[in-house]
């Protein structure tokens, strides 16, 4: 069964460092998303990406964040200068098309900023 894969599963980084979280969405999907979940809290939307551009972003997704689809299979989230409060589980998701289709989530990357 096709699945969304994320790497790494866990990353520890020093405050102020840049991190790149990687995702391989399901191959025939066109819509890509990043969500995050701070420990013990609910899952929050960060950004959606369609047709090689951001289609929507939340207020959390400030200038420290960026997304990219560098090739036909990968989808990345970059945090330029990490803060302690960026520590969270980050989920990548994809869906076949906008509107009335199911989103599938990767297993998550647990980011710890120290």
């Amino acid at each position: 069964e096709p699945e969304v894969t994320q790497t790494p599963s866990h990353q520890v980084t020093q405050m102020g460092q840049e991190v790149i979280l990687r995702c391989v969405p399901i191959s025939n999907h066109l819509y890509f998303y990043w969500y995050r979940q701070i420990l013990g809290q609910k899952v929050e939307f960060l950004v959606s990406f369609y047709n090689n551009e951001i289609s929507e972003k939340s207020e959390i997704f400030d200038d420290q964040f960026s997304v990219e689809r560098p090739d036909g299979s990968n989808f990345t989230l970059k945090i330029r200068s990490t803060k302690l409060e960026d520590s969270a589980m980050y989920f990548c998701a994809s869906s076949e098309a906008p509107g009335r289709t199911e989103a599938f989530f990767g297993q998550g990357t647990r980011l710890t900023v120290v």
Binding site: Y31, Y35, V43, G108
Partner: protein
Amino acid sequence: GIQVEQSPPDLILQEGANSTLRCNFSDSVNNLQWFHQNPWGQLINLFYIPSGTKQNGRLSATTVATERYSLLYISSSQTTDSGVYFCAPPRPNFGNEKLTFGTGTRLTIIP
């Protein structure tokens, strides 16, 4: 944006018991997803249910979009059912571009 409330927030049951988890949302939606977050943090798709009822083994879900709620039923609970259950409708009238997650129900199944 749409508000999503889940109840109960916590539920502790003996293995073999049945349970009903509820999800209320503040606006009309054209689909809704249920997820199980396991103890390792993974989000597992359970149901994609715009309306009506779906069943998958011991689990079933019902969405009544006109009354703005969805229910998740778990029968004959097993310890592997433990975890947090989230419902997530999309932004109204925009399809599946952005899901809004509820605060979840934490289910603990005791052997």
